[in-house]
Symmetry: C2
Subunit: 239 residues, 2 copies
């Protein structure tokens, strides 16, 4: 994307990346479809397998490809799976990081919900409703629901119409996920109730209500974290 920033001569890896992107475009490969295996692709692009591999790795680390060991390499228009693309790895103060991540959600997700209320069509709303029900089911049956919960939020982000939202949100969620375990106890009722409020506001195309509902939902989450931080891998907070 940015060979234009510098004037440096493109390396073999960079060229290969561009050619892979072109290949996907030319072949009309869609989300989930498989690329040729590494040996074939390296011949096709006239680079060594190691160079080709490096190109694939870089593309996968920016969510463009998904590499599955022993299976193959797949196109992934899916949003946000890559590890730590924002470089939180080296941030020592993990407690502050967790706090800032939660604050950041409060900053953008209510706005995303408002936009979603404005832009969501029937199909979107049906998908949101399904996800909302699905989260409820998981909570009621005592199963892990965090992942599905995040899908609900990401779906709202996608409905916002701003393409940055669904790209960014899963990264934020993923980073928070390291710190926070599954919702427990009384908060589960709260989660189901506020999720439902968000869904209803979006269904009614009421932007203000959606904003407020999402805001409340996230505030609950933040305060829970503050007062009762259930942590996974607590060592990462002090390190």
């Amino acid at each position: 994307m940015y060979p234009y920033h510098g004037n440096h001569k493109p390396s073999a890896v960079e060229s290969a990346m561009k050619e892979i992107i072109d290949y996907i475009g030319n072949e009309g490969l869609c989300d989930g479809e498989r690329l040729p295996n590494e040996r074939e692709l390296s011949e096709l692009l006239h680079v060594s397998r190691s160079t080709l591999r490096e190109a694939l790795q870089r593309l996968s680390s920016r969510n463009v490809l998904e590499i599955r060991r022993g299976v193959g390499t797949f196109v992934s228009y899916k949003h946000g799976v890559a590890d730590d693309p924002l470089g939180f790895t080296l941030i020592r103060d993990k407690k502050r990081l967790a706090r800032d991540l939660l604050e950041f959600r409060i900053l953008i997700e209510p706005r995303a919900a408002a936009l979603a209320a404005q832009n969501a069509n029937e199909t979107d709303i049906a998908e949101l409703a399904y996800l909302c029900d699905s989260v409820d089911d998981l909570i009621r049956s005592g199963n892990p629901h965090l992942e599905r919960d995040q899908e609900f939020h990401t779906c709202i982000a996608r409905c916002s119409g701003n393409i940055i939202m669904p790209k960014l949100l899963p990264i934020i969620h993923g980073s928070i996920g390291v710190f926070i375990a599954e919702t427990g106890g009384q908060l589960r009722e709260e989660t189901m109730r506020t999720h439902r409020a968000i869904l209803n506001a979006i269904r009614a195309h009421d932007g203000t209500a959606a904003y407020d509902a999402m805001y409340l939902h996230l505030i609950y989450n933040r305060d829970r974290f503050r007062s009762d931080p259930i942590l996974l891998g607590g060592e990462y907070l002090t390190k």
Copy 2:
């Protein structure tokens, strides 16, 4: 950061990444300091050079390291340099992408400015003032000022106190930079004026004023883009 998401056995590359992070921590390496060369480091970590290289590449693509050909590999706590970590590469509709990026800035930067007004100390304000003056100088002398302009904005993001902001903003800016050339004509005056307004609001610790000033500044930018999109590599808009 997220070996905790899945239960999969860590690959050699993943272990190497972790060990590199640990190495940086143990040796107390700071921003800009150099790591041992690839051959030494691969011996040190007991992995092959190719595995080590892959680990280094991944860390560099998440802004943790900076690899300079013919020179060495350096620790980079710096914010946002990596190419396209959010995976905009495959987005075909570049016009929409540009629009959404600008809208996204309008969504988060005013809030960052408000937080900066609240949290900035004397040192921060001095740095902001210097950057603001510097941008003015560049504009007046007719030199490219886009990069310094972005530094000004990133500095505000850093002053916000939320660590996500300065990580994210350069990525957004960098992606927008592909589309938008240097500010030209009458907008230059506008840029200098609104920058100054933002600075003054932050200096006065007036959050509301900072929010409004930043909002106006960005609206000007967006409208300029809409009415008169000066584009670099226009082909990328239609592709």
